[in-house]
């Protein structure tokens, strides 16, 4: 009895709000928030004070100044008269270029190797295993050096260039390719290409709807080939071949004219693609192995052949497992592109570093670097999350 009385008494007493778990939770959160804000404010104040004390100029105004240095690779017109902003923009575009092409190549290569490792062909499976184990166990910087110093630097000097088909050359300054020059009427070819693509999409939709309704199949792939390649070729011939090429010529120092693809870009691109492809291959293999064997058996028992089974049953389910870790690899590849600085490819970090050193504005440049990489990564994540939700299991 006394126990019950006691507990009643405790319940009647107004309990301190300090003992309320929810109130405490709020208090802790407020405390943490205030201390984080105070810490940041202290850092900012201290930085500003120290910069003033050391007489170091600060602010972002310097970016409007004349850059004064040239860049080796640029996708947009750039000269030493351009501003620091322009230089950073060139660097950003170079980063996006190598990351974008690298992601596409790494994905294709990674899928091939990943599927290849599961192949019943002994040689193919072993080769893919060796590839994966080799490239994923070497630091990416060494892979870049391997391509830059190991492969591209032993290519011949410009005067002894290796001749490639279609007027191209290969030497230790990279690839020199014929540059296409578009003449009047070439627009029509582009229009034909767009029309071909649009028509293919419409055709594919129609074919799918028809198959759903009647079960009859339509040879979409062959029609697409005809539309996308045939139409532009027809337009090209009809307008009288409005395309010529500027071929590289031998000059005093190097070949002049044509399009140059430098060894810095090639090394970085190949290294990033090969390195990341090894990881993507493992993710793909994991994704495929993650699908129950019963799915394959069920498909076979319905009489579906191995190819369509893989394409229509296994891969769509495997993609749900593959896409989230794939996103991480894309982010890694983008961030690893900053290793460009080791071989002098004019990416964001290299150009930013030059600006940093010419102006001495360390804090501003580091802040810009962080902001841009953060933005690039968040954009990639956002796209991949959208893609993932498209691919996710739709429960009916």
């Amino acid at each position: 009895m006394s126990l019950v009385e006691n507990s009643d008494a405790r319940a009647d007493r107004p309990s301190s709000w300090l003992n309320d778990a929810r109130v405490r939770g709020v208090i802790y959160q407020v405390l943490v928030f205030v201390s984080v804000v105070a810490f940041i404010a202290w850092i900012v104040r201290n930085t500003v004070e120290n910069l003033n004390r050391l007489n170091i100029a600060s602010g972002f105004g310097f970016l409007n100044g004349r850059a004064g240095f040239d860049l080796g690779q640029s996708l947009v017109p750039y000269s030493s008269d351009s501003t620091y902003w322009d230089a950073l923009y060139v660097g950003l575009l170079n980063t996006i270029l190598v990351a974008g092409i690298g992601i596409v190549t790494a994905t294709i290569l990674g899928f091939l190797v990943g599927v290849g490792r599961l192949s019943r062909n002994w040689l193919v499976a072993r080769l893919c295993t060796v590839y994966v184990e080799f490239f994923r166990n070497i630091p990416p910087l060494l892979v870049i050096f391997f391509w830059y110093f190991g492969v591209l630097s032993i290519l011949p000097q410009p005067r002894e260039s290796i001749e490639l088909p279609f007027g191209g050359y290969l030497n230790n300054r990279g690839f020199k390719l014929a540059k296409p020059i578009f003449e009047d009427g070439f627009n029509l070819v582009l229009v034909a290409l767009v029309v071909g693509i649009v028509a293919t999409i419409l055709l594919a939709r129609w074919a799918k709807a028809r198959q759903m309704a009647t079960g009859q199949q339509f040879p979409v792939a062959w029609s697409a080939l005809g539309l996308i390649i045939g139409l532009p070729v027809a337009a090209f011939l009809a307008t009288g071949s409005p395309l010529s090429f500027e071929y590289p010529q031998k000059g005093t120092f190097n070949l002049t004219g044509g399009v140059q693809i430098g060894p810095e870009f090639m090394s970085l691109y190949l290294a990033l693609s090969f390195y990341t492809a090894a990881f993507i291959a493992e993710i793909v293999r994991g994704g495929i192995l993650g699908i129950s064997k019963g799915q394959t058996e069920a498909a076979y028992s319905l009489g579906i052949r191995p190819g369509p089974t893989m394409r229509l049953v296994i891969i769509p389910q495997a993609l749900r497992i593959i896409i989230p870790p794939l996103t991480s690899q894309y982010l890694n590849l983008t961030k690893n592109s900053s290793l460009a600085i080791a071989i002098g490819y004019a990416d964001l970090v290299a150009v930013g570093g030059t600006i940093l050193n010419q102006t001495g504005q360390a804090i501003e440049i580091v802040a810009i670097w962080m902001l841009i990489y953060l933005a690039l990564s968040l954009a990639t994540s956002a796209f991949m999350n959208w893609f993932n939700s498209k691919m996710a299991l739709v429960e009916r």
Binding site: L51, L54, F69, Q157, G251, T256, G344, L356, N357, A362
Partner: protein
């Protein structure tokens, strides 16, 4: 390499963020820790590079040793931080080094906007070009269309752009962060032309696979006054750094050498007596924050300017650079010290 750089830069940013507002005078800091922390080149033969045994040797290195000799009477009371062109100024700003003696060009923007002070010119240089002999090039004006190897973050990079633009020449810059990378790329034939300060070209040429196959072109396209750098705002430390250089010049001017410095102390010449701190009741050294025999200490341990020059980069070295602009003022050069009195 990248991570190290980023870490360094973040470290600098962090140092600026966290450093306390108060900072003692550099001389007191140096005396308290017992050595001078000197920012040096990562490896430029003759100017600043470690030898086979890991001992730092060179023209700029000897400047730091002279500084240490003046303060501690010990030329080895100095530690060296190898810095790339890109890291050097931030390392000095953040207090990682006490003085930068790393063939850095004095320009107005570096002097006024980086929180740094250039106090003396210990080497008058100019930018030049080096090419392979078999290209048959004899003038920089024939370089249109060439690939040019250059180190990033240098005045060289900016002069290069200006010179080619002014002369309406095309070029393709091949840019690296580290001197060693530039050397390797040029040696491997990645570029046709190497450009940096002319003294640097002579130094680099020695390290190439086949030095005789390379020629330095006659054009000098810029003024490159190189000298030690200190942080802005500590005038006493700046004075010491400047006067260490002037002391070495003055010693050469009056014929005071490493060999004869002790007997020169007994010289009848009042000027030499004053320079070596033998004048009665002199305060020249103590006013500087040093001892009165500071010049004698420098010459005894390191030598005068001429000796340091010849030993590291002149006739006594592989570089065999002529004194040229760096001769004393009374021998047709530009090296001129204000009087020690």
């Amino acid at each position: 390499m990248k991570t190290k750089l980023i870490a360094g830069l973040l470290g600098t940013a962090a140092a600026l963020a966290f450093a306390g507002a108060a900072s003692a005078a550099t001389l007191d800091d140096v005396k308290a820790k017992g050595f001078v922390q000197c920012g040096a080149n990562t490896g430029l033969a003759g100017f600043g590079a470690p030898d086979d045994a890991g001992n730092w040797k060179g023209f700029d290195i000897d400047f730091c040793r002279a500084l240490a000799a003046a303060i501690f009477d010990d030329p080895n009371a100095v530690k060296f931080s190898p810095l790339s062109a890109k890291e050097r100024f931030t390392a000095l700003q953040s207090g990682e080094v006490d003085v930068l003696a790393r063939n850095s060009t004095w320009t107005i923007s570096r002097d006024t906007s980086l929180g740094l002070d250039f106090r003396a010119v210990n080497y008058y240089d100019g930018q030049g070009f080096m090419v392979r002999k078999d290209l048959g090039v004899s003038s920089a004006l024939q370089l249109s269309g060439a690939s040019v190897c250059v180190q990033t973050g240098t005045t060289t990079e900016l002069n290069l752009a200006d010179y080619f633009k002014a002369n309406n020449l095309q070029y393709n810059p091949v840019v690296f962060e580290k001197q060693e990378d530039v050397n390797a790329a040029y040696d491997a034939g990645r570029c046709d032309v190497y450009t940096t300060d002319q003294s640097g070209l002579y130094s680099v040429r020695l390290t190439l696979k086949d030095p005789d196959n390379h020629v330095v072109l006659p054009e000098i396209i810029s003024k490159e006054p190189l000298g030690p750098v200190v942080r802005h705002g500590d005038n006493q430390w700046g004075d010491i750094v400047a006067w260490v250089h002037y002391a070495m010049l003055t010693a050469e001017e009056f014929g005071i050498t490493q060999a004869n410095v002790e007997e020169m102390k007994n010289s009848d010449n009042p000027e030499i007596k004053r320079i070596l701190g033998m004048e009665a009741d002199t305060k020249l050294g103590t006013d500087l924050g040093l001892t009165n025999d500071w010049v004698a200490r420098i010459v005894k341990h390191v030598g005068n300017y001429g000796e340091v020059f010849e030993r590291n980069i002149g006739q006594g070295s592989d570089l065999k650079i002529a004194r040229g602009l760096n001769a004393l003022w009374n021998k047709g050069g530009l090296q001129y010290a204000p009087p020690i009195r």
